[in-house]
């Protein structure tokens, strides 16, 4: 293993809030040099908790830590002339600018795509906005809850009982969806740059992206004008389907489904006998009988799962080739042998913490040139390094600082 990473050499300038920080992180973890441009007071996402010890502080945001691994940070006040000049210099050396400014705001300051492309025609500028640069809702205020509602996603998520409100799956997923599209668009534009002979703009609206991340809800409407109905812990669907999640002995839920496979059914019956529930299961006949008496079978499942652990349902189900699962909590993976064997978590040291913190790794294991995570930057941690590389001295930086530019 060479230690090289897939995106080594790619230079990205990020001016992004929670809508696209995830995009910058995905690039940075795979080797891109992502310079995060923050206002002198710090990116707004440094104020989102939870915080270390629940003490709010721009350097203690776990939200910021997670979404900004492997990046460098410089401070820059775009409201100052010197700050804008530094921005132009940084952008002149970048392959990509990733930004979430209000549409038109950078152009109004004379530092938008037109200005940057003059000196850097190869630049790819990826803009992530809530609704797109123009249109009837372009001025709407946003947020993850609003996006998840407007996309149709929340309409599919919730409970069998429709007096319980539909649910926003936690958390921040509309921004993940938009960020995934932003990375894809950026990489396609980079791929096309050689043949095209120049860079281009990539326009990503959170609303567009989330509105095509709804699976069946779309096609049932497109083809048959049917709505999907939200159902507890399973697919929203035009018809009501069989319940599939049950409370296990360990207090966690597990999923289990009906089967026509007699080999699998005999095994379930064997589990039931082990659990002292043999009589309950022996009353059922072949698959035809079991599906005719579906709700009774599900009632029996419920009794059986209550006598087993959720992990046991999962592993023993998988031995039978069934796609059953335990409803795990994310942290359950920290000491899981599979995650450990795959090296999925990356330990990162933090000043002031005795133990390294284990971060989930990239969502794709490049087997020869894997990603690598480093700690999220302190505010302005790389000012001297980054501005130094532009040729500025320590005295220059002091002057910038006194002028409020950085």
């Amino acid at each position: 293993m060479s230690g090289e990473r897939p995106l080594d050499g790619l230079r990205v300038l990020e001016l992004a809030d929670e809508q696209a920080e995830w995009a910058g992180k995905l690039l940075a973890d795979m080797g891109a040099d992502v310079i995060k441009v923050e206002s002198p007071g710090g990116a707004t996402t440094r104020r989102i908790g939870p915080f270390v010890g629940d003490v709010p502080d721009p350097e203690r945001s776990l939200n910021f830590w997670h979404y900004n691994t492997s990046k460098r940070s410089v401070t820059l006040d775009l409201a100052t002339r010197q700050g804008r000049a530094l921005w132009l210099e940084l952008a002149a050396r970048a392959d990509v600018v990733l930004e979430t400014a209000v549409p038109g705001a950078l152009d109004a300051l004379g530092i938008g795509y037109e200005a940057l492309a003059l000196t850097n025609p190869g630049l790819v500028m990826t803009s992530v906005t809530p609704w797109g640069p123009d249109g009837p809702y372009a001025g709407f205020v946003s947020g993850d809850l609003i996006q998840m509602a407007m996309s149709g996603i929340i309409n599919s998520c919730g409970y069998d009982e429709h007096d319980i409100p539909p649910v926003r799956p936690g958390a921040n997923h509309s921004h993940h969806i938009a960020s995934h599209h932003a990375v894809i668009g950026t990489l396609i534009a980079l791929y096309a740059r050689d043949a095209l002979g120049k860079g281009q703009r990539v326009d990503i609206a959170v609303h567009d992206c989330a509105s095509v991340c709804v699976e069946f809800a779309a096609t049932h409407w497109f083809y048959t004008q049917r709505f999907v109905e939200r159902q507890t812990g399973r697919h929203a669907y035009p018809q009501i389907t069989a319940r599939s999640s049950f409370l296990a002995r360990d207090g966690h839920y597990a999923s289990m489904s009906q089967t026509r496979d007699e080999r699998v059914w005999r095994e379930i019956v064997r589990w039931a006998h082990e659990a002292g529930l043999g009589e309950l299961f022996d009353q059922f006949g072949d698959a035809t009988d079991r599906f005719a008496r579906g709700s009774e079978v599900l009632g029996a499942y419920e009794a059986l799962v209550a006598e087993m652990d959720s992990e046991e349902i999962w592993h023993r189900g998988q031995e039978l080739g069934m796609t059953w699962a335990a409803v795990r909590q994310p942290e359950d993976w920290l000491d899981d042998p599979h995650a450990i064997a795959r090296g999925f978590f990356h330990p990162i040291e933090h000043e002031g913490l005795a133990e390294p913190v284990y971060y989930p790794g990239p969502p794709y294991a490049f087997t020869a040139h894997p990603g690598r995570l480093t700690r999220a930057p302190h505010l302005g941690e790389h000012n001297a390094e980054v501005y130094g590389a532009l040729g500025y001295s320590a005295a220059d930086l002091t002057a910038f600082r006194e002028a409020g530019a950085i």
Partner: protein
């Protein structure tokens, strides 16, 4: 020009995660060749509906779902379980850039193909496998579909009201997301190949793709000892109140309708109070700061819902948005396709003609490139539609060779 026009992808994608990946590539011009056989047809063709004219109306060409996720692609009938298919696959590999598959671990190996063997044919091949647990580790043989991945990764647990059963996701979110991750991996590997000349084997695990999106909760657990927990529709981070989904007047034949409202700042709260007619309760001590509103959210939510309940969801959204308050209808697909003015402005549901099904809307392509736009050029491929042109034109097989393959049963 189409930006990925010189990229050829051999696509064993089926169901959704694989097709979502290659849909993104095909929309931008990659030549995506779906390899399908009667023994292993894409589930999207057979099990996943809707089939607007019946499941078997047009054989394997009956599914609207398949059409939506496979537009712009080609279909090659090649039965990899036949020994004769191996030579065809070798010839395809030699002229291809990428192989994508989302089978459970071991399927390609069973057909006699590993990454090392592909690499021996095409030294810079990019191979992405995307099994739920990945291709290594103790669970490598476990089988998953979207809900399994969501349950295992923690996403299901984090969706629901505290103390209630997990509500989870009402669709295979991780099939979409696994597809996004695989497309990102392909494009990163193409970047790497262009810079340094080599290919890559990418062992993508969809479960890991789910876990990594819960990173903040995993950090909170380690650093603060706080177990992860579902929040209903509330938001601790960022702190917000109100932050909920509120019932409105039923519409569309008595369907329940809801509007989402969030106030992240004092200004937004003040704007909400004013837009809702400055009700007396809003000046109550219980609601005079973010902290107190968050402490009294049950009361707050009940009072807000009493205000929204007699109103139309769209009216509430427009009233509040006009005042600068984050608000949005919990839209269904009638809303998305017929009432959402922004999606109409962005042309997000283009209509596409399919030779058998007819003309229907599709999910648009949400990535807008200014100079080399992608888009939908063609319907999903008919069953085996391109078998002849791929074998004849691309691989240069003569009629006798194709006939021999067909006679051996390798082409169905």
């Amino acid at each position: 020009m189409l930006p990925l026009q010189d990229v050829r992808v051999l696509d064993f994608g089926w169901a959704m995660a694989g097709p979502q990946c290659t849909r993104l590539l095909a929309d931008f011009g990659a030549e995506v060749i779906k390899i399908e056989s009667e023994e292993r047809p894409d589930l999207g063709r057979v099990s996943f509906g809707p089939h607007p004219f019946g499941q078997d109306a047009f054989g394997f060409d009956s599914s609207g779902y398949f059409n939506n996720f496979n537009r712009n692609k080609k279909s090659l009938n090649l039965n990899m379980q036949r020994p004769e298919a191996s030579g065809v696959f070798r010839d395809l590999l030699a002229v291809s850039d990428v192989v994508v598959e989302n089978y459970s671990a071991g399927v390609l190996e069973k057909w006699g193909w590993t990454y090392e063997m592909m690499k021996a044919v095409k030294s810079d091949i990019i191979y992405v496998s995307m099994a739920g647990p990945g291709h290594s580790g103790p669970y490598r043989d476990y089988r998953t579909f979207g809900p399994t991945v969501q349950a295992l990764s923690g996403l299901t647990y984090l969706s629901g009201f505290p103390g209630e059963r997990p509500a989870g996701w009402g669709f295979s979110y991780m099939d979409h997301t696994g597809g996004y991750h695989a497309a990102i991996a392909v494009l990163m590997a193409l970047y790497q190949r262009k810079q340094r000349g080599y290919g890559e084997y990418i062992d993508l695990s969809q479960i890991e793709g789910g876990i990594t999106q819960t990173g903040t909760a995993i950090l909170d657990y380690q650093v603060n000892g706080r177990p992860s927990a579902p929040q209903g529709n509330r938001s601790n981070h960022p702190a917000a109140a109100p932050h909920g989904v509120y019932r409105c007047v039923d519409e569309y034949g008595g369907r329940d309708r809801w509007v989402a409202i969030a106030c992240y700042t004092e200004d937004q709260w003040a704007a909400f109070v004013s837009a809702s007619g400055s009700p007396e309760w809003a000046s109550d001590d219980r609601f005079d700061s973010m902290l107190s509103r968050r402490e009294n959210q049950d009361d707050l939510d009940a009072l807000i819902e009493a205000w929204t309940r007699p109103q139309l969801a769209h009216d509430v959204m427009h009233l509040l948005q006009k005042a600068g308050v984050p608000a949005g209808v919990v839209q269904n697909h009638k809303d998305l396709t017929e009432r959402d003015e922004q999606l109409a402005h962005r042309r997000m549901f283009p209509r596409v003609v399919h030779p058998k099904l007819g003309e229907f809307p599709m999910d648009g392509q949400p990535i807008n490139l200014s100079e080399t736009p992608g888009g939908i050029r063609r319907h999903g491929p008919l069953w085996g539609e391109h078998t002849g042109s791929i074998l004849g034109d691309l691989l240069g097989y003569d009629a006798a060779t194709i006939e021999t393959l067909a006679a051996a049963g390798a082409l169905r």
